[in-house]
């Protein structure tokens, strides 16, 4: 399960001889015997602490050729403002932020427009991040609670090949592992354009592993245009210690934000000069969010087995106010009175207020042990996952001018439960071949009470189950090259409010296939793969309703490749390219088989590179520099009606110099000053009350951030 290191490392703890205190710090881990974990080098630079424990770790074996673990050197090469920025370093991932700097990012992953997370399962530090049945969108993921500095690594599991992957792992899963390796106290202050301010404070005890730290962040900005101000404050703390034979990790965090949003603009209005590209039709958009959570991860390991139990609790709150369509009268299903009410409300404006409050309680548990079936390295694992969400949510239309509530379409209480069990086998029938796989059974239950729209408080329930089979064949060709074939079945749960009484929960069934090769040596890692994913049905942004609606089955095929080179400690580079073709498989509801699925870019290319020179001695200290660059190329984004969106090439760069305790850093985002569009949608709107508006669906955009320069002064004490 997601253990110490959140399942990213399969580790075996070997207790050395000697007396132990009942509670002892976990020392920096080594990625292999006698080899320092690169992420812990600063801890070890202060001199080796007394050794009372040696932990031998190895990367978990990959489930597919394109599985990637992005480590700190790559994550820290280019500047990043949020953890969402970090996931853009994962091959095939690109992000947008169409609802303001404080709102959750829109995620695109391998031809999927995951919107805010419906197709990407994300866990951070042992806690699930996807909101079940979020009123704004299924699987909503807000990663602002975690600072980029404390993300130690990201494990990207494209496809659905691992039995640990659960709900929302449609395009794949991203598991973020937390750690901070700068020993002592870190204090930094950042100032930048648009009155941006950021203060960061962290502490990491030098003799402890980087899994133990505490970090605090405060950020505020006026934004690069009207209605773009943001404030957020966040705290993340994690400690890992040994309690007798147990290893315990506790992670707790709290976060709150408030933000404004400029919303969408019609591209034609920008091009005609009718509105400034940084303007807004409705200055009252924005929202707030909070998240408080705790994870307790207890594990016990010996030479042959490992047991883990990790309960978690998450308190979530979100409010969004958005206006995508102005005064457009939108279609509404209901009786005559309801339709009349909805239309009357639309005539006063479609400013939608969405509120989602949830408490999530759950746990993950697993037991793994070696068994001798076909070889001495065979093993099996059984695991369980439980998650229960108590959700209160509403969606209300507000008059644009008076902010008065004019229509309530959702006023619901949802209780969602997802219980799962899986088994996972690893067999080596031949010395060069390892077969991994198993099955996962998820049972999901929902209880819904809705008082919005035409609902009158009726309580209904629905339940369903999904069995997913997984298999990976890993053939060692030799010379560090492995060929992998993978197959997996996954699912996406339905939006709870859409379920009828007694309905067998209609999961979106996912099948993933992949074949490819991996190469790994000390300075170079590379992979290339062909992949295919099919869905029994899909959710695609609909221009008629301006939200995601169910569509016929879809399929995605593509090719991906990544190369990471770190020939020396002072240089790292990573480059990836992903091409995906997403199309409908059946003809239905206005879509024809073969039509491209709109919105997700077909081409995503990403590079990250950092050069860390040493400039010699100054004031008795070594002057160390870092020059980093990250580029993102996004192309061929299909839009409805046979159109394609604008291609984008963005460059972010950083330069810093550090004299042990003091560091000065300059970060530049969108260095080339590209005028670009962050979000692109096609739908109908009417922001001209009473006039003869243009009502035919047309392109709407959210404007991307202009060139932004930030300067940071950091002290390391």
């Amino acid at each position: 399960m997601r253990l110490v290191g959140f399942g990213i490392l399969a580790s075996i703890a070997v207790w050395a001889r000697g007396a132990h205190a009942d509670i002892a710090p976990i020392l920096p881990m080594a990625s292999s015997p006698g080899e320092a974990d690169p992420s812990s080098e600063n801890s070890e630079a202060k001199g080796p602490p007394p050794i009372d424990e040696v932990r031998v770790t190895a990367p978990a074996p990959p489930r597919s050729a394109s599985e990637v673990v992005q480590e700190k050197p790559v994550l820290g090469a280019a500047p990043h403002r949020t953890a969402s920025d970090l996931i853009a370093t994962v091959p095939g991932v690109t992000i947008a932020q169409h609802s303001g700097e404080g709102a959750a990012h829109q995620i695109f992953f391998r031809g999927f427009d995951a919107v805010h997370g419906q197709d990407v399962e994300i866990w951070v530090g042992g806690a699930p991040v996807n909101d079940v049945s979020n009123v704004h969108g299924q699987g909503y993921v807000d990663l602002h609670f975690v600072m980029p500095e404390v993300v130690k690594r990201i494990r990207s599991l494209p496809g659905t090949y691992d039995p640990r992957q659960g709900d929302f792992s449609v395009a794949g899963s991203l598991w973020l592992d937390l750690g901070y390796n700068e020993p002592g106290v870190t204090m930094s202050a950042t100032a930048g354009q648009f009155n941006s301010r950021r203060y960061f404070l962290a502490y990491h005890p030098k003799d402890w592993s980087d899994a133990t730290f505490a970090a605090f962040e405060y950020y505020s900005t006026d934004g690069f245009g009207p209605s773009r101000a943001t404030q957020r404050v966040s705290l993340v703390g994690q400690a890992e210690a040994r309690l007798g034979e147990l290893v315990a990790r506790v992670m707790a965090s709290s976060y709150a934000s408030r933000f404004d949003s400029a919303g969408v603009l019609r591209l034609s209005d920008i091009n005609s000069g009718k509105i400034d590209r940084f303007g807004t039709y409705d200055p009252n958009q924005g929202g707030d969010a909070s998240r408080t959570q705790m994870v307790l991860d207890l594990s016990r390991a010996d030479d042959a087995s490992r047991l883990s139990v990790a309960p978690f609790v998450v308190f979530r709150s979100m409010r969004l106010r958005q206006d995508f369509t102005g005064y457009l009268v939108q279609p509404y299903s209901g009786n005559a009175a309801e339709v009349a009410d909805a239309e009357a409300a639309s005539l006063r404006g479609n400013s939608e207020q969405q509120v989602h409050d949830a408490v999530t309680v759950g746990l993950t548990a697993s037991y793994r042990r070696t068994v001798r079936l076909l070889s001495r390295s065979d093993s099996f694992e059984v695991g369980m996952s439980a998650r229960s969400d108590w959700i209160t949510q509403s969606q209300r239309k507000l008059a644009i001018d008076t902010r008065e509530t004019t229509f309530t379409s959702v006023d619901a209480k949802v209780r969602a439960t997802d219980l799962a069990g899986y088994f996972d086998l690893s067999l080596r029938p031949f010395s060069r071949l390892v077969v991994r796989g198993g099955a996962r059974l998820d049972g999901l239950a929902y209880s819904i009470e809705d008082n919005g729209g035409g609902a009158n408080g009726e309580r209904r329930s629905a339940e369903g189950a999904n069995l997913g089979k997984k298999a990976t064949a890993d053939f060692n060709i030799g010379g560090g090259v492995h060929a992998l074939l993978s197959y997996g079945e996954g699912f996406r749960s339905p939006q709870a409010r859409s379920l009828q009484e007694g309905q067998d929960a209609p999961f979106t069934r996912v099948q993933s296939y992949e074949g490819g090769v991996r190469y790994q040596s000390r300075p170079l890692q590379a992979n290339a793969a062909l992949f295919r994913t099919t869905l029994s049905d899909d959710l695609v942004f609909d221009q008629a309703t301006a939200r995601n609606e169910r569509t016929p089955p879809t399929g995605r095929i593509g090719v991906t490749g990544q190369m990471v080179a770190q020939p020396a400690d002072w240089f790292v580079s990573s480059a990836s390219f992903t091409y995906t073709r997403a199309s409908f498989s059946n003809t239905d509801g206005g879509f024809n088989a073969g039509d491209l699925v709109p919105y997700s870019p077909q081409v995503v290319a990403r590079t990250d590179a950092a050069w860390k020179p040493t400039f010699g001695q100054w004031l008795g200290r070594t002057a160390e520099g870092q020059f980093g660059i990250g580029t993102t190329y996004i192309a061929r984004r299909p839009l409805p009606f046979g159109e394609f969106g604008n291609d984008t090439f963005l460059v972010d760069a950083t330069a810093s110099i550090r004299l042990r305790e003091v560091q000065l850093r300059i970060d530049a985002f969108n260095l080339l000053g590209l005028n670009w569009y962050d979000g692109q949608f096609v739908f109908a709107s009417n922001f001209e009350r009473g006039a003869a508006p243009s009502l035919v669906p047309q392109r709407h955009v959210t404007v991307g951030a202009p060139r932004t320069i930030m300067a940071t002064l950091a002290l390391y004490l």
Binding site: V329, P331, Y332, S333, G334, N335, A336, V339, A340, A528, L530, R532, Q543, A544, I557, G558, V559, G561, F577, Y579, R581, S583, F584, G590, F591, N592, G594, D595, L596, V597, P598, P638, L639, P640, F641, G642, E643, A684, G690, A692, P693, S694, L695, V696, P697
Partner: protein, 259 residues
């Protein structure tokens, strides 16, 4: 180059040939617009039993919209898919019958300034834009400001002619019925005549939308007995509630598409 080669290989491996279209559903189209009177527009009998012969008839327009929502008067035959769905209880949930929901706008003509449509000298309007789809209903947006046109004499709608009572009484009325925006606003919001019939058609490309205007509907509720007789040279110019209502009747405008 290697990546391109891999992409090509992927296409073959996964059966992605060249036969599948490389675009999303639908496309944008150009819709030309023609406004024509119905066949018997200049001579008809009203609901009050008056035989009317028109000599002038004009209306001003600001915009035309075409929607996929069925008009409130429609009795559309269900498609084969809908018939099958109904067998399994999966029919589309429409609003209460009689309450019109326009749905998505598929096409439109937005005029830069109000235009006078002279039914005795019909002309083409500016081309409109649209997208492919099934067109079912339309909106005729009357102008809020009268265009400077002799055909309208500064009004939003105008009909002039002679009405003769067909009861043998020989009563004749020479009339000039006019309507301004305020008059029409008693019946419609923002001058929008909603729910007009668009002869249902699956539009797949550029074409021409023909708007058929029916003055007989404009005048159907006019009680000419309440209007001074006037003369042919000096007809009685008046505002009439029946005329204002008639101009805003959705049945006064019918839309059709042809390639």
């Amino acid at each position: 180059m290697k990546l391109v080669a891999l992409a090509i290989a992927a296409s073959f491996l996964f059966g992605c040939g060249d036969s599948t279209p490389a675009s999303t559903a639908g496309k944008r189209i150009v819709l030309h617009t023609a406004v024509v009177p119905d066949a018997s527009f200049s001579a008809f009998t009203t609901g009050f039993g008056w035989n009317v012969v028109l000599t002038r008839a004009a209306v001003s327009a600001q915009a035309l919209y075409y929607f996929d929502g069925p008009p409130p008067t429609a009795h559309r035959s269900p498609s084969r898919r809908e018939t099958i769905e109904r067998l399994f209880g999966l029919g589309t949930a429409w609003a209460h019958p009689g309450h019109y929901q326009a749905g998505t706008a598929l096409g439109q003509v937005i005029l830069a300034s109000p235009v006078a449509i002279d039914l005795f000298a019909p002309t083409a309007l500016a081309a409109g834009d649209g997208v492919t789809g099934t067109y079912r209903s339309a909106r005729f947006s009357l102008a809020q400001v009268a265009p400077s046109s002799a055909a309208l004499s500064g009004h939003i709608a105008l009909a002039e002619g002679k009405a003769t009572k067909n009861d043998g009484s020989g009563a004749e009325v020479y009339f000039r019925l006019i309507a301004d925006y305020d008059d029409l606003s008693k019946s419609v919001v923002n001058g929008a005549v909603d729910g007009c019939v668009f002869d249902e058609v699956d539009v797949r490309g550029d074409g021409t939308v023909t708007v058929q205007v029916k003055p007989s509907v404009w005048l159907n509720l006019v009680d000419f007995s309440a209007i001074a007789p006037g003369t042919e040279a000096v007809p009685t110019e008046t505002k009439d509630a029946g005329f204002s209502q008639g101009v805003t009747q959705l049945s006064a405008y019918r839309f059709a598409y042809a390639k």
